[in-house]
């Protein structure tokens, strides 16, 4: 993982450059973990990735109050009604047109072309109704086989922004309600891949579906939000490997919002999609900078995780966001034991290394110094078992090698 990523996954010992320059010290182990825990209590870096900006002034002065009232009046009495009409008309008209296009017997190819053009207009309709003012840096690359578009995620506007440039499909969680209706009836020409996070079968199938989907040049560009959750546009979370392990060329796209008047971060816990739209419409507006970056390929000898981290850093650099190594999955589900086991595993490897060193030192001494006498029965038992430790160390090394080979094989066969 790159040095830029402020990472909880960076489990290597602090002094990795000179591992345990003798004399070896056991108390080194776990210190980094302990310190991370302490640091989290002092300031919880994970939670602040999902905090929206607040717009109330810290002190209320007469000028502040006046400004606030004027702004609210302008927004609620003039801007909001206009935007709501656009919102309503846009959705109504396009819903009718989309249904008509489906019913009229055009040729399949023509219909698809028409639908893709319609999506562009529909996207602009959405942007103007929500008050988004986009600036595009660079151009959206043409659809090509085996290309995949990786975007940082803040809210649904990400998708609309890119849809105004070229119709594109996405991979995402199936959603009920108003948003679900749009997903199903209007943008289905883009061949989106919807799935259900909680269904294991669909998740397993996902990689295969994405793989076949991107081989077809007729289909719209496929966007992937590898963070998996909405982030507040100040940080990027760890990019999940899904988009990077299918062997496609990755086009990074960064989206940065100007949050001067409102925060477009979509907190699914607080409001539904419709209320979110209303809140956006009631604000002065939000600026959006979209950066299309150069396509990147996985380098030789680079692991999937390194590749994902590299793309994450590219996007973070372009947009000026801070890269973190947190797993967005933890936002929705309590961390599973497997994450803790991963930490324990790496600590175990560290300690093993330490044991190997003490063993080496021991063998170089003759005769070996006597051990302190055991004080409890338990200790006595363990001491007796300890005779076989050297053998266990060898076994452990072999096991690690075998596991490494196995995982490499798995990645290849995928």
């Amino acid at each position: 993982m790159s040095s830029k990523t402020d990472s909880t996954h960076d489990l290597s010992p602090q002094q990795s450059a000179s591992p345990f320059r003798e004399p070896y010290n056991l108390f080194n182990h776990g210190w980094s973990q302990f310190q991370k825990g302490y640091q989290t209590i002092i300031d919880d870096n994970f939670t602040i990735c999902f905090e929206a900006k607040t717009y109330f002034p810290k002190k209320w002065t007469f000028l502040n109050i006046l400004q606030y009232i004027l702004k609210e009046m302008l927004c609620d009495l003039i801007i909001f009604p206009i935007r709501f009409i656009i919102f309503f008309v846009n959705n109504f008209i396009f819903a009718v047109i989309f249904i008509l296009v489906k019913l009229i017997p055009f040729s399949q190819q023509f219909r698809l072309k028409l639908q893709k053009q319609l999506v562009l207009g529909y996207g602009w309709g959405w942007l103007s109704s929500l008050g988004v003012f986009p600036t595009f840096h660079g151009t959206f690359p043409k659809p090509q086989p085996n290309y995949i578009y990786v975007v940082n995620h803040t809210c649904m506007i990400d998708y609309m922004l890119l849809c105004t440039q070229r119709a594109c499909g996405s991979v995402g969680q199936r959603t009920p309600g108003f948003l679900g209706w749009i997903m199903k009836h209007t943008i289905d020409c883009c061949d989106n891949i919807w799935f259900d996070r909680s269904m294991q079968y669909e998740r397993d199938n996902l990689t295969r579906r994405i793989k076949t989907r991107i081989q077809d040049p007729e289909k719209a560009n496929l966007l992937i939000f590898p963070e998996g959750v909405c982030v507040n546009n100040e940080y990027t979370l760890m990019f999940k490997r899904g988009a990077f392990e299918i062997g496609a060329t990755v086009v990074p796209v960064g989206i940065k919002y100007n949050k001067k008047f409102t925060d477009p971060y979509y907190n699914t816990r607080k409001v539904g999609f419709f209320m979110y739209c209303v809140n956006m419409m009631r604000s002065l507006g939000v600026g959006a900078d979209v950066y299309f970056l150069d396509p990147v390929d996985q380098k030789e000898g680079e692991s999937v995780y390194q590749f994902a981290a590299r793309v994450q850093n590219l996007i973070s650099d372009a947009t000026g966001m801070k890269a973190t190594g947190f797993d967005g999955y933890m936002k929705h589900y309590p961390p599973s034991g497997s994450y803790m086991r991963k930490i324990q595993e790496s600590l175990g490897d560290e300690v093993c290394e330490g044991l190997r060193i003490t063993n080496d030192i021991l063998h170089s001494l003759s005769p070996p110094p006597p051990l302190p006498s055991p004080t409890t029965d338990e200790e006595k038992q363990r001491r007796e078992m300890a005779i076989d430790v050297s053998k266990w160390l060898v076994d452990k090394t072999e096991l690690n090698e075998r596991q490494k080979k196995k995982t490499q094989k798995e990645i290849k066969t995928d």
Partner: protein, 183 residues
């Protein structure tokens, strides 16, 4: 959350005397404390700590709470919370920071790291990835190395002496711990 800020004048001056934090710092930490205290009962339980995802997956969580919880009642009140954090205060000494590291391993708080305690903490750190025998060997060697008085367990004097001998580590540990500007 303005109405939750209810530290009385007396408490405040007591805390300021015992920890050397400024009034502003204590207020900030109190807000932090209230933020963590979800059921608003004035103490942080183990479950409340676990609500922070990155803490819940920390294998050393029991020790982390153990260090804060000086009266061993399984939860952390504001006094304990702020005393625990005072190690990171601006006038904290190297001695205090070393004591914190010592306390991580001194599970029962008797001022000595015994063979069993060291074993317990190492087991907690590595889970199923090390055999008991291997850990025991490492523990034995460490105690042998560190214990100068030859009584079979490590006292704080032994500990700080051995840490100061290992200069690289000492500087890493003590250097890393100055996070007071973040409080």
């Amino acid at each position: 959350m303005g109405n939750e800020l209810s530290i009385s004048e007396d408490e405040m001056s007591d805390l300021m005397n015992s920890t050397s934090f400024s009034q502003e710092e204590i207020k900030r930490m109190y807000r932090k404390f209230c933020h963590l205290d979800h059921d608003r009962n004035g103490v942080l339980s183990v479950d409340e700590f676990k609500l922070i995802p990155t803490i819940a997956s920390n294998p050393l969580l029991p020790r982390l709470i153990g260090i804060f919880d000086t009266n061993h009642d399984e939860c952390v009140d504001f006094d304990e919370f702020i005393t625990g954090l005072s190690v990171f205060g601006s006038d904290s000494t190297d001695e205090k920071k070393l004591k914190l590291l010592f306390d991580v391993y001194d599970v029962d708080g008797d001022g000595f790291i015994s063979n069993g305690e060291l074993f317990y903490v190492l087991k907690m750190m590595t889970g199923a990835n090390m055999s008991d025998a291997a850990i025991q060997q490492l523990v034995d060697r460490t105690i042998l190395d560190t214990d100068t008085s030859g009584d079979g367990h490590i006292s704080f004097e032994d500990f700080s002496l051995s840490m100061k001998n290992r200069k690289v580590l000492f500087e890493t540990v003590v250097g890393q711990m100055s996070v007071s500007n973040k409080v």
